[in-house]
Symmetry: C2
Subunit: 241 residues, 2 copies
DNA sequence: GCAAAAGTGTTCACATTACACCCATGG
DNA sequence: CCATGGGTGTAATGTGAACACTTTTGC
């Protein structure tokens, strides 16, 4: 390869760069959901000969007139039917041989959706929820992408209260605690958990109880979006365990 | 745009994707240094007509046979002459109109170098260190990239001891404290700072003193790489203020 | 001797942890 | 009445923040 210092630089001088415009760019979405007290991810089966019958993340090529965030939202909307979902860019994967179709650089996003509140579209290719803990092998470099996004999720839920995107609008403290435990892979003390969550001031008691549970019903809460927006302006909101 | 659900998907089915291979991919490196008790960043002047005389980050187009990390290392080596520098991918920027030469998606990295221990190469285009705090305007979307990378640096130095990459091999506690203060934009209590740093066990007293300082010389320390590697295996090393 | 920074401990407030019993509901 | 989880408080420990004086060197 020609040393770049002998070559004009794209940020610096006008130059014929046509030979560089040979990349495709894609997004891959790690769509997390929570169901049956287990953290799940939405996967599809690959038909590519190279990865016959391996599971793959949901992704797509980015159009030439589209940015990465828009492409991710598009994938999410097309696959889950949901809009206004939580979506966060994590990392860009660029190994030279990572895609058999050619030089495809892919930016990974994770998103958090309510696994019960959406209808899966395009049920072809066996679009399904899979328990994250059970996944051992995937197509492309998607196992690495999944692991990277899971680590990002674990870190992020201890910094900001994005976890509520995975729950119904109303939820019990038990559901919330099981969700934290499922994502972090730890057991938490119930009393300390309740104390900490209440002191954040981010839970609103909606004065309703669980129904149809085979035990004493718990209170239901919603996430206080308004209060969180105010807090964010001033300082970060840590929820550490 | 055609809804993607009517279109074969790159992760799923073989498909003619040639019309997507029209992107260029670049890297932009936010190269941080510390000198005169000020956090600085290495910039170059742009010759592009659109951004005449604006300052720009160091970046380059990625070759078709090169991944993003390699491209960043190449830029760094070419510009600073340094190898084995700390380099970390931060975010990928993809606004449709962000580069006048065409559709260029750029992945931002920050890197930490010792601003005194390298020789600037390619002194054309006024390659120079600039105090981060003084920068108001830049070419392209580089102001946004710089701000994003600075925020990433601020966060990261409170999670892992990467900050030592900005100092000489031997440093005084005062230099280290001033560096934390410069990056975080806060004042720290000297006694508490020393206490905290010593309890990490990451400082080795090299039994030398500062020389040629107009005041009582302080002890010099080095960063305990070996101990840090061991700690990393077990748990993360937080340095919070 | 003066200016400048090195070096050094204690106290207080707050946050985190560990831990056990009674209560409400469904079956 | 039994199984299941809901709901509650306190004591001990650890962590972060605030704070002042003496010492060493160069000039």
């Amino acid at each position: 390869m020609t040393p770049s210092r002998k070559k004009p630089n794209i940020n610096c001088s006008p130059v014929d760069t046509s030979h560089f415009f040979g990349f495709a760019v894609s997004v891959d979405c790690v769509i997390f959901g929570f169901d049956e007290n287990v953290l799940k991810v939405l996967l599809i089966k690959s038909d590519l000969p190279t990865f016959q019958d391996k599971w793959s993340l949901l992704g797509d090529l980015v159009e030439l007139d589209e940015d990465l965030d828009s492409a991710s939202y598009r994938v999410l909307k097309d696959r889950t039917g949901l809009e206004n979902v939580y979506l966060e860019q994590v990392h860009t994967f660029s190994s030279v041989g990572r895609h058999p179709a050619g030089r495809v650089v892919s930016t990974a996003y994770f998103s958090l959706v309510n696994a019960r509140h959406h209808q899966l579209r395009q049920l072809a290719n066996e679009l399904h929820w899979h328990p994250v803990a059970d996944i051992q092998e995937m197509a492309f470099d998607h196992m690495e992408i999944l692991n990277t996004c899971l680590a990002a999720l674990q870190k992020k839920i201890q910094e900001e209260p994005i976890i509520f995107n995975l729950l119904e609008n109303k939820f019990s403290l038990r559901e919330l605690q099981y969700l934290y435990e499922a994502i972090l892979g730890v057991k938490l003390d119930r009393r300390n958990f309740r104390k900490k969550l209440f002191t954040t001031g981010l839970l609103v008691d909606v004065d309703e109880m669980e129904e149809n549970v085979p035990h004493r019903p718990g209170k239901l809460y919603t996430f206080n979006h308004g209060r969180y927006s105010n807090m964010k302006k001033k300082t970060f909101v840590g929820i550490d365990f």
